[in-house]
Symmetry: C2
Subunit: 161 residues, 2 copies
């Protein structure tokens, strides 16, 4: 790997450590939420009927179902969300934002967005902001394309490609 790429990678890797830490610290301190939990509440608040299937929500949050299930359990214990079985298909579980949950997101989002503004957008030019969107999407797509990298030695069947 070239020296220039190494340096860019070092700066990105640093960002990957520090930004989540900074966001979690603010949300935890001001609202008692992790960044992940806030994202879940925010997604539900934006959804029709304030309701989403867990599997859909897991996709939005780039999360495993296991992690989401535990997060929903915590949010349910706080009274911000409740589960119902999908009447259309009993295998699905729907997460529904309660009124208290709606109040919670409404209160916690401004402070969170203010920090994102300060840390991310205030630090960048309009053109860099646009580029950041393009770059982030490109990398995410590359991850989707090669979700699990298979080493030369370990050849598993590549059926659905």
């Amino acid at each position: 790997m070239s020296a220039e790429r190494l340096e860019v990678w070092a700066s990105l890797a640093t960002l990957l450590e520090r930004l989540p830490t900074a966001l979690d610290a603010q949300l935890q301190r001001d609202s008692g939420l992790t960044h992940f939990e806030h994202g879940v509440l925010y997604a539900l608040d934006s959804a029709p009927e304030r309701t989403l299937r867990l599997s859909t929500l897991a996709g939005y949050a780039s999360s495993t179902l296991s992690r989401l299930s535990r997060a929903i359990t915590r949010l349910e214990a706080k009274g911000w969300v409740h589960r119902i079985i999908d009447p259309a298909d009993g295998r699905f579980t729907l997460a529904v934002l309660t009124n208290e949950g709606h109040v919670k997101v409404t209160q916690s989002t401004p402070g969170h967005h203010a920090l994102v503004d300060r840390l991310v957008f205030d630090a960048l030019t309009a053109s860099q902001i646009r580029q950041l969107g393009v770059i982030s999407r490109s990398i995410s797509e590359a991850i989707d394309t090669a979700p699990v990298w298979t080493p030369p030695s370990a050849k598993v069947d590549p059926p659905t490609l």
Copy 2:
């Protein structure tokens, strides 16, 4: 927050979830290392005498001393690192990469860098790569400048709604 910023933020937040997950998965599977542990070994391998003070290393890794201390304990148990008390000042602890540790980094780095190449650099133009470096550093600097942001009226929400 404007719709455009929301969209950029969504794409960055997605990246912050997915890229570390992808990197950890590859390193764990191929080398039995977390991304963090690999970073520690790599930093030691690059250091003079393959030796660094824990506090210096914590800075490089954007980590708490607590997290680093536990990681060093794990790496020591594997025989890749050992601790010595700094002869110049007994408060400092030096982490030293063993020969086995050097072999370990040498073996694990190519696969890791190949994935970084594939996920990050292959997805971007030369100009985007340069911009990514500038953008990452700008955001990291903003985090340093405002490590803990205090909202105008820091209200903790009441115990139970």
